[in-house]
């Protein structure tokens, strides 16, 4: 009986988003028809560009990889009741710190050691950046949403200042960058693919975050603090410390993504790091309802949409905003669909009362 009830509950979390996706597809088809385009052609191309070939899959996964980690930067604090939207800042600082940490080691240290220290530096920088937001929130009552957002702009300014000034490689006159870490130091792709290891790191981080939140006493305390901080304080839980912990872990995830962007893609820190991964991560986390296990599939959905965007643009002559429009429709429909939870009798546990 209990097993069946759990299955019913789990089914709800699959059926409702699937329904929302179907509805968004219908809405978007209407928009396409209004633009004189064939929805069938559109969705065929969408499928082909996102998942239809081996190349498309790699393209999709490459795009999803950084989003998984930056989405965690939103999801973890959200479970503790904090709305952190400045993952972009931690991503940028992570990349900058990783590139900087490599500088004194290049030329003599073995590549694995350099990469390890870069990863530690990137993760630590991201953790401190969002950790600062947590401390400001805890000690000074500064609104964490605004603080993290503004810190993201500060991070970009710090990056620009350092790569155009003290850290600039003189060999980069027209695109200011730090000294490149070099092809021999850079982290290669997962063998047999062109997908980088950030994807694996993201999946592990999501699993770890899920275990932390759902399977440990600390996670339980975090959820209580997020649900009702006053009640948590009344229970003697160290709410402030839990908030800061969540922020540190969140920043670490985004900082790690920044490290991977430098170690696998750019090979140096420059303004190309500012690509909006931190901000797209917010959407991914919200669509995943801040559930660490739901983040990878949602990130892959987003990765697929942007991977197919190019093909759609080129073949149908549609503007680039078309895919952004589809993302918007999906976003609104999925968020609206949240009101459907608990409304279908079929998903209600038979052993329990009707939900209020």
């Amino acid at each position: 009986m209990r097993g069946a009830d759990e299955l019913r509950r789990a089914a709800e979390f699959v059926v409702v988003p699937a329904l929302a996706l179907a509805i968004s597809a219908a809405i978007f088809s209407a928009i396409l028809l209004a633009m004189g385009q064939s929805p069938a052609a559109f969705f065929q191309l969408l499928w082909r560009g996102a998942f239809g070939t081996a190349f498309s899959w790699q393209n999709t996964l490459q795009r999803a990889a950084p989003l998984i980690l930056t989405a965690l930067c939103v999801a973890l604090p959200a479970r503790a009741g904090l709305m952190i939207i400045g993952g972009e800042g931690a991503f940028v600082m992570g990349g900058l710190a990783a590139a900087t940490a490599a500088l004194p080691l290049l030329g003599w240290a073995p590549a694995p050691l350099v990469l390890l220290l870069m990863a530690i530096a990137g993760t630590a920088a991201g953790a401190l950046w969002i950790g600062l937001v947590g401390v400001l929130r805890h000690r000074r009552g500064v609104n964490e949403t605004i603080a993290s957002l503004l810190l993201a702009y500060i991070a970009v300014a710090v990056l620009s200042f350092l790569v155009e000034g003290p850290l600039r490689d003189p060999a980069s006159p027209n695109k200011p960058s730090t000294h490149p870490i070099g092809a021999e130091t850079m982290l290669g792709p997962i063998p047999g693919t062109s997908v980088h290891w950030g994807l694996v790191a993201g999946l592990i981080a999501c699993l770890a975050a899920h275990v932390l939140i759902s399977r440990t006493t600390t996670g339980f305390a975090i959820r209580i603090a997020g649900g009702n901080p006053h009640a948590a304080l009344g229970q003697g839980l160290p709410v402030g410390r839990l908030l800061v912990l969540c922020c540190l872990l969140a920043g670490a995830a985004a900082g790690l993504a920044g490290f991977f962007d430098v170690a696998t893609v750019h090979g140096a820190a420059n303004v190309s790091l500012v690509a909006g991964y931190g901000f797209t991560g917010i959407l991914v986390s919200f669509l995943a309802r801040h559930n660490a296990l739901a983040i990878p599939p949602v990130a892959i959905l987003f990765g697929g949409l942007s991977a197919a965007g190019g093909l759609i643009q080129r073949r149908l002559g549609l503007p680039d905003a078309t895919v952004a429009l589809l993302e918007g429709v999906i976003f609104v429909t999925l968020l609206t669909s949240e009101t459907l939870y608990g409304r279908f009798a079929i998903f209600q546990p038979r052993g329990a009362r009707q939900r209020p």
Binding site: A30, M35, G49, Q313, A321, L325
Partner: protein, 398 residues
């Protein structure tokens, strides 16, 4: 050269609205019913089944050329200067063009190139943003040795980069020199302004050439310089244009990705303007003097024709007026008679290869750049690494 523009999104919905206009009117006339929806879907599917993939990039015998933009094609600036040339490329028989816009300088551009090669069959790719080159175009060129890739810079070097990659570059500093000649002679106060993106060599070089042009016809004039800090910051650009107007400048020139906002602001303030990248003449019917424009058409059409004939593409194709790679926007109402004559003469002189950097030239701190009696050629390598501002410019590199 542009970097990713976060603000370019704003223009997109407008474009979408325009391209969808015909459909919208149809819709309001017929109304949308579930039936028409289903009907549309089935006809779409039928068309798909009979014609293979929708809009397949071209028949097998056509040369597929891919073009990638960092922003929108209608930005009144850098991207538009390429898009205009691509329109000319499309008229070449046997060429089929696939284009993608708003592609950031991340792995996304590598994937776009791969997608163009693997799914569209592209044989020649122009990646038009600075940050596309390293590492993305270099990697793709190594991965696909039978595909030609070209980048609008002089970054390619034979000893470091694959042979199927290369650069083409329009020496815009020559066109800015002409801007300077026309600006200096169109200014009454001798106070001229300049809004620039970043203090990098490429930009410093065009500002210096502009200044030399100004002093050519108006030896006492000065140029007040403001850097906005990035390639596309419309709000800062408007602020800078306003500040220069308020400081008494009666002519303002610029080097940013899209001077749209600058030229419009100056027109409202009654200040004359010079353009950059593509024609902004329509934005300032009263005060537009002339503008520095790239002419990539020469490269794009030329390369497509070479490939069609089975001939190899040059790895390096650079030039200014002499190679028909830059041009000046036709004079606007802001250009004085004297300015028109002197600018036309300057273009003829540059076409003949006369050097702009003829000594004596000092920087604005008094250091000698070019000694009296000597000159730097218009393509001298020393100019590529400029990190100074010449005498007459009120501003600083740092």
């Amino acid at each position: 050269m542009p970097k990713r523009k976060n603000d370019s999104q704003g223009e997109e919905p407008a474009r979408a609205a325009v391209s969808g206009q015909r459909g919208v009117t149809n819709m309001t006339a017929a109304g949308i019913s579930r039936r028409s929806l289903v009907l549309g879907a089935t006809t779409g599917a039928a068309a798909l089944a009979s014609a293979g993939w929708p809009g397949t990039a071209g028949a097998a015998d056509k040369l597929v050329v891919g073009v990638i933009y960092v922003g929108t094609r209608g930005d009144f600036g850098w991207n538009q200067s390429h898009a205009t040339a691509v329109e000319a490329l499309k008229t070449v028989p046997g060429v089929s063009v696939v284009e993608e816009e708003n592609v950031p300088e991340t792995l996304a551009v590598a994937n776009t190139m791969k997608s163009m090669i693997e799914l569209d069959g592209a044989k020649l790719i122009f990646g038009t943003s600075f940050g596309y080159f390293n590492p993305f175009m270099v990697d793709i060129a190594r991965q696909y040795p039978d595909v030609q890739l070209r980048h609008p810079t002089t970054l390619w070097s034979a000893d470091k980069h694959p042979a199927n990659l290369g650069g083409y570059f329009a020496y815009m500093d020559q066109a800015h020199y002409v801007n300077g000649v026309a600006a200096g002679l169109s200014s009454k106060t001798g106070k001229i302004g300049y809004v620039a993106a970043k203090p990098i060599s490429l930009v410093l070089r065009t500002i210096n050439s502009f200044m030399l042009g100004v002093r050519k016809g108006n030896p006492g004039a000065t140029v007040k310089l403001i850097f906005t800090g990035d390639w596309s910051l419309p709000v800062r650009e408007a602020e800078a244009a306003n500040a220069l107007a308020s400081a008494g400048c009666d002519v303002v020139a610029c080097h940013v990705d899209s001077p749209k906002v600058i030229v419009e602001t100056l027109e409202r303030r009654g200040v004359k303007s010079c353009g950059h990248n593509t024609s902004q003449a329509a934005l300032a019917p009263k005060g537009f003097i002339t503008g520095a424009e790239t002419k990539y058409e020469t490269i794009y059409k030329g390369f497509a024709e070479l490939l069609a004939r089975g001939e190899p593409l040059p790895n390096v194709a650079i030039g200014g007026y002499d190679k028909d790679m830059v041009t000046s926007t036709p004079f606007g109402a802001g250009a004085s008679e004297e300015a028109r004559r002197a600018a036309t003469e300057a273009i003829a002189a540059l076409r003949a290869g006369q050097p702009m950097f003829a000594g004596p030239i000092r920087d604005n701190k008094g250091n000698v750049i070019v000694a009296p009696g000597s000159a730097l050629g218009n393509y001298a390598p020393e100019l590529e690494t400029a990190n100074y501002l010449v005498e007459g410019i009120e501003g600083s590199v740092t």
